[in-house]
Symmetry: C2
Subunit: 208 residues, 2 copies
Amino acid sequence: MSNNLRIVIIEDDEILRKGYELLLSDVEDFSIVNSYGSYDLAKKQLKEDAPQVILLDINMPGTSGLQAIPEIKKMLSNTHIVILTVFDSAETVFEALNMGADGYLTKNASSEKIIEAIRDVCNGGGVMSINVARIVMHSFQKNLNSPLTKRETEILKRIAAGQTKTQIADELFIDQNTVRSHVKNIYIKLDVNSKSEAIKTATKNRFI
Amino acid sequence: MSNNLRIVIIEDDEILRKGYELLLSDVEDFSIVNSYGSYDLAKKQLKEDAPQVILLDINMPGTSGLQAIPEIKKMLSNTHIVILTVFDSAETVFEALNMGADGYLTKNASSEKIIEAIRDVCNGGGVMSINVARIVMHSFQKNLNSPLTKRETEILKRIAAGQTKTQIADELFIDQNTVRSHVKNIYIKLDVNSKSEAIKTATKNRFI
DNA sequence: GATATATCACCCCTTTTGGGTGATTTTAGC
DNA sequence: GCTAAAATCACCCAAAAGGGGTGATATATC
């Protein structure tokens, strides 16, 4: 009993919260030590709860789940956070991962997936449900209709990496003037007239 | 029969290739139209094969799977590519996704997963197996031990986005001298003395 | 053979950068 | 409440990089 996996649920929808509680307390080696309707309600007691895993909703009254992540991480550095939410925009996913979430499941995840995810994060894994993976994957796929040539793309990538034209010229074994020439063409094609604009436009359109 | 899902397998290991063939040809609405031991062997006939899905290995004699992706995409724009490989370094995964792969499975994926993945990509989804998801997730998680303060991180992010100190000062409503001051501290903390080095170091260590 | 791409050359001037040395005010941790 | 860290601003300097203009040439690619 004492070696059970300690779990806390933070979810404002009472039906869902009770549902998760029921589901997870049925698992032999899981212990639901507490469940809360918001992070604000949870935060004073989390230290005492000392959970290994927190199932965290994002959309909650008061402090949002995203804001809560760094606070939890600070307070309980060894606790794994699994986001369990309906939100699945690319921005939300990335922000959650950036904040330090160990997993991101959407609420249509099956019981087995949730249980599996809890075990996985405890073993140092990261977990995401398939539709989240889909979002992440798509956000990586380059725009195939880039107006930039191969060389121009190469150069713009390096500019985005902070390299100067001199460095780029050296590393590509071409003249600085050639780099300048490419950069000019890049600016024309992207309809910009500075480095930052070029990076912004190219990033937004996934040309690099 | 004519409405069957047309699949091509490109995999140099004959045992595996035959195994996949056997597995997938058992699925009612799947048709293995062809299978090849390398992309070089496949490329002349792929157009004729007109597959909806290609299962593609990465490590193959001749043209690698990664190099093959853009070629396939160009030749068969509506064909979905699912990488099926033992390689699962973050770089490889990202490169494959960047090249335009629609899925990335590792070879320990179960039969059901592979079949599910094939159906998923045909429905416009992206697919990744759990260990790949793990890699992707970890590569997103910021280094929590960054020596940089919040403000310094903010400023370095903007420098990485190609903004000049003037622009940064304007957008953050602070003086250019303040930005300069922060940048100097950033350089000291990262032990670098130029923009590009700072971006490189910070990116490598996931400080930004 | 025409068009796109990649390569290089020289002009101009303005902006940015990086280094140095300082100070003041907030903010945050103990 | 004290102390240290962080954030803010000021002014010096010279070198580097940036951006705009206008060209040429070779090599692909179609």
